[in-house]
């Protein structure tokens, strides 16, 4: 439950292309860390290395260490599939399994872990849907397909699916960018609740969102197209948005970027 993350000298490559350069940062348990920065700066790439989704792209590789409570998830003996079972991820596009029922969607991860007891699955489904603030909206249609609810509901369903396995870390890759403002607000409220139990890392293009939901903000940038992205600075969210150390951060958050 709610583990601490440490990145030590992390370099990320796609084949010969050096995508992200020497990232060092720490995420405390039960906190929200936001990654911001312009497109192509590598913030989503860094997020995807945290559950080893990044290596699904042929030629992708990571140097350095990513430690989860001190254990390197890139250790030779660590299996990517096993790593992903303890780290939840929510994507930009809500992606429930369209033909699975709402209930089956929520417990899909649990089923993968071999849980078969129907009573236990039903309990977890309800608890997770309540945890994702979705229970009251779907409790009467748990057997309907997951693709049949609104986009905002689908995204909360995906969050329910991610927290059903009680992950050590919850990763969110621009979770609100496909949602309307009301749904966005619902997700942001949910993030504030989830923080009590989970370590959360969120990538967002929306700086107001980063300011609203996160405790810590990391700003990524790249010097030019084709150059690797890098972490400019990471600090308390309040400090980043009021008095950042680096001029580049100041320029970006005040809109003087580029």
């Amino acid at each position: 439950m709610a583990k601490r993350i440490d990145l030590k000298d992390v370099d990320i490559y796609y084949g010969a292309f050096h995508a992200v350069q020497s990232v060092n940062l720490t995420v405390a348990p039960r906190s929200v860390t936001a990654f911001i920065g312009p497109s192509g700066c590598g913030k989503s790439t860094v997020l995807r290395t945290l559950n080893r989704m990044h290596e699904e792209i042929p030629g992708a590789r990571v140097d350095g260490q990513i430690l989860l409570d001190g254990e390197n998830i890139y250790d030779r003996s660590a299996d990517a599939v096993a790593v992903r079972r303890t780290i939840g991820m929510v994507f930009q596009m809500p992606n429930p399994f369209p033909t699975m029922s709402i209930r089956d969607n929520v417990v899909a991860g649990l089923r993968l872990q071999g849980v078969k007891d129907k009573k236990k699955l039903d309990e977890v489904a309800e608890a997770s849907l309540r945890g994702a603030n979705l229970w009251n909206e779907v409790k009467d249609r748990l057997d309907k397909p997951g693709g049949g609810i609104s986009g905002g509901q689908q995204q909360r369903l995906c969050i329910a699916r991610a927290i059903a396995v009680q992950p050590d870390v919850l990763l969110m890759d621009e979770p609100c960018s496909a949602l309307d403002p009301i749904s966005t607000l619902a997700i942001e409220d949910l993030i504030a609740d989830l923080k009590k139990e989970y370590t959360i890392v969120i990538v967002t293009h929306n700086m107001q969102q980063a300011a609203r939901v996160s405790d810590q903000t990391g700003f990524f940038n790249l010097e030019a197209t084709g150059k690797p992205g890098h972490l400019v600075e990471i600090d308390d969210t309040e400090k980043i948005f009021s008095n950042p150390t680096e001029q580049a951060t100041e320029d970006y958050i005040s809109g003087r970027f580029g």
Binding site: N51, M53, E56, V81, A82, V83, R84, R85, T86, G88, M89, F91, M93, N95, P96, F97, P98, T99, M100, A108, G109, L112, Q113, P145, G146, G147, G148, C158, R161, A162, V165
Partner: protein, 310 residues
């Protein structure tokens, strides 16, 4: 200048509409042709067209023909082909889209597609000269050991005759494999990336990604592809004519019977199409086959047109 471009537009529209209408019209006309040619013979038929197992057209004044045996043989060969080809095609399509690296997948898929380019006469020759002798011991083993099961009982052919429905079904399976594989490969490859990522992010293994994301998405396409394969198997003529031995015995449930399918019977009689009434008997059989394949293809469309995802 404006006028000329509009004229180009209307010419083009006329051409495309015309091509579309032409295709639909030819199918309708073929159906109509079969019906018109069949009706006089059907009226002169002394036997029941649907339940008789006879097919005797030697005497135009005493036509006796029915399609029951033809239907049974056609269905036995085609369904056997489907039962063999469907799992193999599924395996190949999943291998090509989910497991094989790109540089292996492409040439491999090309080879599978080449199977469709082999002329059916070659399949027929290979089937009777190469495959049938190889399969004979299998036939015999099944009859000896599982003969109590109706499908595997000794058929209406003498022991040792090579060209059985079983052999024909195996040949058909090879022939319809490419179409089923091609369609299945196409739909599996189109599984949305975000469904696959959803499964992977939950810690799904490759096989679990397939069962959670790929198969639910591609199932209807795979079934539609199989239906297209079935349509092809139902109508296959020359390979079946070469492979399956004629038999005067009764059709049973056995896969080791001989006999004729709709298509192979018609082809075998082609040299005798001189008098209109006997010819019409074969045309009636052709009409049934036409309707049968039409229905199967229509079913395939319905399945494929159904909602693939929610």
């Amino acid at each position: 200048m404006w006028a000329s471009s509009r004229r180009g537009e209307s010419v083009f529209r006329g051409l495309t509409t015309g091509s579309g209408v032409l295709v639909v019209a030819s199918i309708a006309l073929i159906g109509l042709f079969l019906l018109i040619q069949a009706i006089p013979s059907l009226l002169a038929n002394q036997a029941n067209f649907f339940t008789s197992t006879e097919f005797s057209t030697g005497d135009p004044d005493n036509l006796r023909f029915g399609i029951l045996d033809l239907l049974v043989v056609t269905l036995k060969t085609s369904i056997l082909a489907l039962v063999i080809a469907m799992p193999i095609a599924l395996g190949v399509a999943l291998f090509l889209t989910q497991y094989a690296p790109k540089r292996v997948a492409r040439p491999f898929a090309y080879v599978i597609d080449l199977l469709a380019a082999v002329p059916s006469i070659v399949y027929g020759l290979w089937g009777i000269l190469v495959l049938a002798p190889v399969i004979l011991p299998v036939n015999q083993w099944l009859v000896d050991n599982l003969g109590w099961f109706p499908l595997f009982s000794q058929g209406n052919l003498p022991v040792g005759v090579r060209g059985t429905i079983f052999t024909g079904g195996v040949i058909l399976a090879v022939m319809i494999l490419p179409i089923i594989t091609a369609v299945a490969r196409e739909v599996f490859a189109q599984t949305p990336r975000f469904h696959i990522e959803a499964a992977k992010a939950l810690g799904a293994t490759r096989w679990e990604v397939i069962t959670m994301a790929v198969l639910p998405y591609g199932r209807s396409g795979y079934i539609a592809g199989s239906m297209l394969g079935l349509g092809r198997a139902l109508g296959e003529t020359i390979a079946i004519l070469l492979v399956i031995s004629a038999s005067t015995g009764m059709q049973t449930l056995s896969l080791f019977d001989g006999g004729y399918t709709f298509a192979s019977l018609i082809a075998s009689a082609a040299s005798e199409f001189s008098q209109p009434l006997p010819t019409g008997a074969y045309i009636s059989a052709g009409l049934v086959l036409f309707v049968l394949t039409f229905v199967v293809n229509a079913l395939a469309r319905v399945v494929a047109g159904g909602k693939v995802n929610g």
